[in-house]
């Protein structure tokens, strides 16, 4: 079976530049200029007056898609269970949040909605509201023709209870509107320490995250049939066009051999420095396209 890989960029890549050195216009123009055809955004970052964008913003959105020949791919959303100080969100509130984002994403032409779920334990169990809330919005996702796809994202691993639970939901309901988003950061073979930006730390205490094991690319084989979108997370492509953190050749070999179709949506998460994201995205696309050409020749 022969698949078709397409190339996209997530505007997350321009974190540190967006609103500082680049406008939304600049970011979208850059995505088109580097030859990508897929555009991924974060609803809560890039939509003016989220979740109620003004008409002028909506008009500009569609005008840009036309002008640059870009296809909206994935819309990042959040279900923040700590949104109301002193209590967790209720199931109804989680449903309302998901409905808001599904409708807005569909209106903007997106096919995939990635809700980032809150966690309740140190080993990253999602807040239990995720499952009943998801089941309640599956009909809306079908009506709006979008696929809800929570991400498998570092420091979560593929072989975990949460991923098993996502797959169980798909198998139990038979839905075609729920799938998995694979973030390639889970395959990092060594840890990248991001430099630059405003210094930050997690928590006032001495708690530190557990060390995450390296996930072999072979684990992807078990879940690939449910993967609907790839966030091609990366940190640094060097001057020899090599990536020392993400094993792209192995990863792409699996996608090509299995005939996977969809977007590789680049997510730069390397060092902060003005202009660096634009250069690194071009390096990554050059690397990915070269490797895919080798696999398919």
């Amino acid at each position: 079976m022969s698949g078709s890989l397409e190339y996209g960029v997530s505007l997350y890549s321009y974190t540190g530049e967006y609103g500082v050195t680049m406008t939304l216009d600049d970011c979208i123009e850059d995505v088109a200029d580097l030859g990508a055809t897929g555009l991924e955004i974060l609803g809560e970052a890039h939509i003016e007056d989220y979740p109620n964008p003004p008409t002028a913003w909506l008009d500009a959105w569609f005008e840009r898609l036309d002008r640059f020949g870009l296809t909206p791919t994935c819309y990042g959303s959040w279900v923040d269970h700590r949104r109301f100080p002193g209590r967790d969100i209720t199931e109804d509130e989680a449903v309302q949040q998901l409905e808001t984002d599904i409708r807005l994403a569909a209106r903007l032409g997106f096919k995939y909605v990635r809700p980032k779920l809150g966690v309740v334990t140190a080993d990253l169990e999602p807040h239990p509201v995720w499952e009943p809330a998801t089941l309640r919005v599956l009909d809306l996702a079908e009506q709006q023709d979008v696929i809800i796809c929570p991400e498998i994202h570092w420091p979560s691993v593929i072989r975990s209870k949460v991923v098993d639970d996502y797959i169980a939901l798909i198998e139990r309901t038979g839905t075609k509107h729920f799938g998995l988003l694979m973030d390639t950061g889970v395959f990092q073979t060594s840890m990248h320490h991001r430099s630059g930006g405003v210094p930050s730390r997690m928590g006032r205490g001495s708690a530190r995250p557990p060390i995450t094991p390296v996930v072999p690319v072979s684990d992807l084989e078990d879940v690939l049939q449910h993967v609907v979108h790839v966030q091609a997370k990366f940190y640094e492509i060097d001057d020899e066009l090599q990536d020392h953190y993400i094993p792209w050749a192995e990863f792409l070999e699996v996608l090509v051999r299995r005939g996977w179709s969809g977007f590789l949506s680049s997510e730069y998460e390397g060092d902060y420095a003005t202009g660096r994201a634009a250069d690194q995205l071009r390096r990554q696309h050059a690397l990915l396209r070269t490797l895919v050409a080798k696999e398919t020749s």
Partner: protein
């Protein structure tokens, strides 16, 4: 456009009864106001408690607790917040060592590793 730094150069000034400074949200997305825990500002070693800060985010004005009482209140990532603080004497014209610690609650990070704290020190000028 905003400065790359969290504490903005523009907006640090005396006001009637105090002073103010502008902060950029150094995150990758905007936030529901209830996820902002607060900001602790220090000027030349004098610390101002988070509960004393008066926030202005676009049209929203007041102590953070009052702003967050509106469930639709948000801090967009590309809008600087103005932090107003009371002080008996105006800050002197010239250099000041300004520090800010911004605390944010990220639901997708385990609670024992929260809040996320951004800290920054800058040497800023009061020009009048």
């Amino acid at each position: 456009m905003l400065d790359t730094t969290m504490i903005q150069t523009r907006g640090f000034k005396n006001t009637p009864g105090g002073f103010e400074l502008r902060l950029r949200l150094p995150y990758y997305r905007g936030l529901w106001a209830g996820l902002i825990e607060g900001v602790t500002v220090t000027v030349d070693g004098e610390t101002f408690a988070p509960e004393d800060a008066h926030w202005t985010i676009g049209e929203l004005r007041g102590p953070l607790r009052e702003i967050a009482a509106s469930e639709s209140a948000r801090w967009p990532v590309d809008v600087a917040a103005v932090i107003g603080l009371r002080r008996d004497q105006p800050l002197s014209i010239g250099f000041h060592d300004v520090a800010a610690e911004l605390a944010i609650q990220m639901s997708y990070i385990p609670e024992e590793l929260q809040p996320t704290l951004w800290t920054e020190q800058r040497r800023l000028v009061v020009s009048r």
